[in-house]
């Protein structure tokens, strides 16, 4: 187990800059998720930590040792790839033992380690099968087993669940989390799925366009997003983000109807252009609120998701109570002001009260 320090890391492919100076500090034993839309550089960052990509600038240190020029095999890491990268011509046993065979470990040690990993992952019955004879979830487990046998200082996961169906993904999510809790190995996990990030991480790193947007525990990011991008990216259904101006002590959305009250103590000035954000579940019905023409009602059982229009502005609400609204009907809504977020219009940065 080890800390990982990423200091002002940059990556250029030719003249194109992919990462513009990323810094992340990862504690020993932490489960860190790098999340962001595709092309944000999260996988590149992970591959740089693994040693599969050169580092154009900055430093990566694992366990206090700068590894910029250390080859992958000497970094004491293990990586699980998106398509598992199991060696098709080797049995599960040989796949898991491969790294130790290369390291010329004694046969009985290899046997003990493979058996231990197989027991942890429930693969005892499958050791003599070939990867093509396994299901998606089993392959995933073998890929993790291959990582476990090496007792690495750091686990790296590159979108390991994206090839699985929805149900299996939820199950494997829990298994990976459980594994981390048992082994306590520092883990860096890349995903584009913010639900995976929220449910698994001790700490989330939100990336966008080669920059880190925010670093923090999942609920901190959810409750206090540092900027409009994080606000819109974390949470499903996504946060409502309305563009507009402050007029007469209230917020008026461009193209919208009615006025939205501002949180008390909001540091905004009259006429300032801001982004006004609130999560769907923080919307409630209120006769004195903003009128909304219902365009879609989606009951999921536990809650009802209502999409409506205020003028040209689309707003989504999620209500725990049963709502009888019909499409075309007008309802009046207000956000919970304690849970409203204001962002700077140009920079997108949070405007703190």
């Amino acid at each position: 187990m080890a800390t990982v320090d990423i200091r002002d890391v940059r990556k250029n492919f030719g003249s194109t800059a992919i990462l513009h100076g990323v810094s992340v500090g990862i504690e020993d034993g932490e489960f860190v998720v790098l999340v962001g839309p595709s092309g944000c550089g999260k996988s590149t960052l992970l591959r740089m930590i693994a040693g599969l990509e050169n580092i154009s600038g900055g430093e990566v240190a694992i366990g206090g040792r700068v590894v910029n020029n250390v080859p992958p095999k000497d970094r004491d890491i293990a990586m699980v790839f998106q398509n598992y990268a199991l060696y098709p011509h080797m049995t599960v046993r040989d796949n898991m033992a491969f790294s130790m065979t290369l390291a010329k470990a004694p046969k009985d040690v290899i046997e003990t380690e493979v058996t231990r990993a197989a027991r942890i992952l429930g693969l005892e019955q499958l050791l003599d099968r070939y990867p093509r004879q396994l299901s998606g979830g089993q392959r995933q487990r073998v890929a993790m087993g291959r990582a476990i046998v090496r007792h690495p200082q750091v686990f790296l996961f590159d979108e390991p669940l994206s090839n699985l169906d929805a149900k299996l993904r939820v199950q494997m999510r829990a298994e990976i989390k459980d594994l981390h809790q048992r082994l306590k190995t520092t883990t860096i996990y890349v995903t584009h799925d913010q639900i995976e990030a929220m449910t698994m991480a001790d700490k989330i790193v939100v990336m966008h366009g080669g920059n880190v947007e925010q670093i923090g525990p999942p609920l901190d990011l959810y409750d206090r997003p540092a900027n409009a991008f994080v606000a819109g990216f974390i949470g499903s259904p996504a946060m409502n983000l309305l563009h507009g101006t402050v007029q007469g002590g209230a917020f008026h959305a461009e193209g919208g109807e009615g006025s939205w009250p501002l949180p008390t103590g909001a540091r905004v000035s009259e006429g300032q252009r801001i982004i006004y954000g609130f999560r769907p579940e923080h919307l409630r019905l209120d006769g004195s609120g903003v009128p909304l023409v219902v365009t879609l009602v989606e009951p999921t059982g536990s809650e009802t998701q209502v999409t409506g229009r205020s003028g040209k502005v689309q707003i989504v609400g999620a209500f725990r109570e049963r709502i009888t609204a019909q499409v075309g009907e007008t309802i009046h809504v207000l956000p919970d002001l304690a849970q409203a977020h204001l962002f700077h219009r140009e920079t997108g940065q949070r405007l703190d009260a």
């Binding site: 599969l52 293990a78 990586m79 990268a85 098709p88 790294s99």
Partner: protein
């Protein structure tokens, strides 16, 4: 109703059977006859006694009435045919092995190591393949003479790779491309060196590609004529294709029986070799690695 449907089905299947015969089997039969007739002719000529061979009045040219092993006997025990066969085998095997080793390294480097200009190297190798042997043998002859290799098996073992390596390299580049790159990255993290990756991951997965490159090289070396004719002069060093033409045609006398027997025996090793690996050969040309 069901009866009507049945007859309709029958009519349809009859029609489709008819169509199959016309569109599939008839053309197939034509192809097979055209392709196999030379082999048939070769075989019956090889076992025909001389009396039957030239007498079309009393004997059908397409059939043997009293087969004989005299031609084959003469070939094996009165000429140096076994020696020629051995020469051909030695040269084909050596140049195949040489070409495969070189092509594997070249193809792997071009496909997997990111170095400047790797696509151009690939292209250059392919262009080298396009130079016709009938032009290439002139400069090669000078080199063979200067190296003192003339009339030795090495003259051919070292010149055959000039056309074998480019093709095999190209075939293997395509095959290596189909092996997922992640497997190698994963092996890299697992602690393997480049050579270990090549030996333990890439090559085992590329076996079908290696086999088809091997078959290709072996067949071409076995049948090669121009270089073998130009670079070998003494009878005991000749290869089968050259020897049967130069040694079994005496002046303007064609010893057809022995000629055909020689061709038949000479084509058997290739056919046997090929039949062992035909499945791999097809799969390497049509499919890729399955995980």
């Amino acid at each position: 109703m069901s009866k009507a449907a049945n007859t309709a089905d029958d009519a349809l299947s009859w029609q489709s059977r008819q169509r199959r015969v016309v569109t599939v089997y008839l053309p197939l039969i034509c192809f097979v006859i055209i392709l196999l007739f030379p082999f048939y002719w070769m075989t019956i000529t090889a076992i025909k006694p001389n009396a039957e061979m030239f007498n079309y009045k009393d004997y059908s040219p397409f059939w043997v009435v009293s087969p004989t092993l005299a031609n084959i006997n003469k070939l094996l025990f009165e000429t140096s045919y076994p020696q020629w066969l051995f020469n051909t085998m030695l040269i084909a095997v050596c140049s195949t092995v040489l070409s495969l080793v070189a092509s594997v390294l070249a193809a792997y480097a071009i496909q997997r190591l990111r170095f400047k200009g790797s696509p151009y190297v690939g292209l250059a190798i392919y262009i080298a393949y396009l130079v016709p042997p009938s032009i290439l043998f002139i400069p090669l002859a000078t080199m063979v003479f200067q190296l003192g290799l003339f009339d030795s098996p090495f003259a051919l073992i070292l010149t055959y790779p000039t056309f074998l390596i480019p093709f095999c390299t190209w075939l293997l580049i395509g095959y290596f491309k189909s092996i997922p790159y992640e497997l190698e990255e994963c092996a890299l993290i697992d602690g393997a060196s480049r050579l270990q990756i090549l030996r333990r991951i890439t090559l085992p997965l590329a076996v079908p590609g290696l086999i088809s490159a091997g078959i290709f090289s072996f067949t071409l070396s076995w049948n090669e004529f121009i270089y073998a004719l130009a670079f070998i002069s003494s009878s005991e060093n000749k290869t089968v294709p050259v020897a049967i033409l130069t040694e079994l045609v005496q002046g303007d006398v064609y010893q057809w029986g022995s000629l055909m027997a020689g061709s038949l025996l000479g084509s058997l090793p290739v056919a046997i070799f090929y039949s062992f690996f035909v499945d791999y050969y097809v799969s390497s040309l049509t499919g890729a690695v399955k995980e």
